[in-house]
Symmetry: C2
Subunit: 308 residues, 2 copies
């Protein structure tokens, strides 16, 4: 892949993907839910973040199908569903009983803006909405997203979000404040807390197209590698960048006494580990037989080389 | 239906159903989730409650299929999934930022026992687990619960739990403290907050067997009627019973300044409305062409005549 050429091409791809995802979320996250709940949900999920998970879903769908995913109903629904799960986890994670964070993406966090009760409820409703999006009703949509695919997408998302994935990882995170974790335990925590949903984002995209077992396994390896790399880079940025650049409170892990890759390995070794995982993700892409791997390759690079 | 005979028969049915549900939940709610999260989830969902929702699911499955539902994989999974959604909503609802309740089913509430952070996470994981149960993996289970049925069950559950259903109803409830609601608004709130999941419990059971559109509609009407009746009886019990009988703090709605059927209609008219809804549920059952309606009929009676 020619990096100089592909950077421009990826920027264009990424802009189209972000447009598609933002428009879809705007259409699918209800403005009119009872008692203003829709407003809280929209505050929590619209206009925010890099949409890495959605981009991974669309890139994986394109990679296996060899076609633009921007108007493909299943891939777009899967992309929005993973973003909803991610967004709800941030809403709950920011609450006073968890990380007690007041700033997110440069805005007051949801509970600061709307109170804790509505923040918790909106998060709960966002998780349910993710599964609503994956199970559209009506004849046209049932034909666009066949029931067997709906079930497969729900299965992947539920397991990534649940006790063995994201929620389990957050429980380990919670229990690890002020505790000296070893590297395997830290890695296991991040595999669950961040990695599981990133990996599921890739696999849900892959589920939207034709995919051999060997390609599925390779994409699973790719997802696992960038999932972990993402968290290591997060730790590096948290230790080296200011709050303005991050759009959230920086240095929080250290001040909360939480173990990080940087605190365990030091900056240089953490950086080397992220690079090693990037290589591993690229090798996995080569093992997969993909019609159009470019966006996935570019995303792996963005995950590791990002500065916020 | 001969009430004298059927009361014994229903007690036996109900005992078998409860056994099946408790065993299944014990097997499916993980004891070994990371960082003790499984223990918190099990505390929140095992050994508790009347399991009305699960019984409705099993009764509806039996009604349409004409066969015992106790070992039917789809009905049992659906029954446990609705109980998980109900249990997670109680865990979150009891938290200090919501109802701030310390007693539930005669035990300390989850956040009192395990802290707010783990209570919130366990609730989140319980919602995800509901969808995991509905989308089993592996060849045997895919054949026992066909993917199209998995998708249908997820669709019904997600909509009942989400912004237009339970979570939306809770948002209205939250906004109604100290506010004078009129009867249509109170009814709308309860249709969402409690009714949607009770109705979905019935329909998820019905989805597990053969069901004509007319029977589906009749069961939907049955579910809506007993869903609302349940809440009216809840309001009556909250106003007339002590905490010991209820296993939770009694008289809380009144002391929180929340509108109830009793505060709006008075005790006698609330009781009459519950009886009217019971009749309406029975009429709906007669409209449905059901192979074995007895358990559903008995459950409608239990909902309205219960004393705790």
């Amino acid at each position: 892949m020619n990096t100089a050429v592909s950077a421009d091409a990826f920027d264009a791809w990424s802009a189209r993907a972000l447009d598609a995802v933002e428009s879809a979320l705007r259409a699918w996250v209800p403005a009119d839910a009872p008692a203003g709940l829709g407003e809280v949900m929209r505050y929590g999920v619209l206009d925010g973040g890099k949409r890495l998970r959605a981009l991974l879903t669309l890139a994986a769908a394109e990679a296996v199908a060899g076609a633009d995913p921007f108007s493909a109903e299943p891939a777009l629904r899967a992309a929005c569903a993973v973003e909803l799960i991610h967004a709800y986890s941030l809403v709950h994670d920011d609450m006073p009983c968890m990380d007690n964070d007041v700033l997110r993406r440069g805005k007051p966090t949801v509970h600061v803006q709307y109170g804790e009760a509505r923040a918790m409820l909106a998060g709960d409703a966002m998780q349910a909405l993710a599964f609503e999006l994956l199970t559209p009703e009506g004849e046209r949509l049932q034909s666009a997203v066949p029931p067997a695919l709906q079930a497969r997408l729900c299965a992947l998302l539920a397991r990534a979000a649940g006790h063995a994935g994201m929620a389990g990882g957050q429980a380990v995170d919670l229990a690890s404040v002020g505790v000296q974790l070893d590297l395997p335990t830290l890695r296991d925590m991040h595999r669950r807390k961040t990695g599981a949903l990133l990996q599921a984002s890739v696999l849900m995209g892959a589920a939207c197209g034709p995919c051999t077992p060997a390609t599925w396994q390779a994409l699973s390896d790719y997802g696992a590698a960038i999932g972990l790399a993402f968290q290591i880079v997060d730790d590096i940025l948290d230790a080296t960048q200011g709050s303005d650049a991050l759009g959230k409170t920086a240095g929080k892990d250290a001040s909360d006494g939480k173990p990080t890759y940087v605190s365990l390995l030091g900056l240089q070794a953490a950086r080397a580990e992220a690079d090693r995982l990037h290589d591993s993700a690229c090798q996995a892409l080569q093992r997969a037989s993909l019609a159009r791997p470019d966006a996935l390759a570019a995303l792996a690079e963005r995950v590791v080389c990002r500065d916020h």
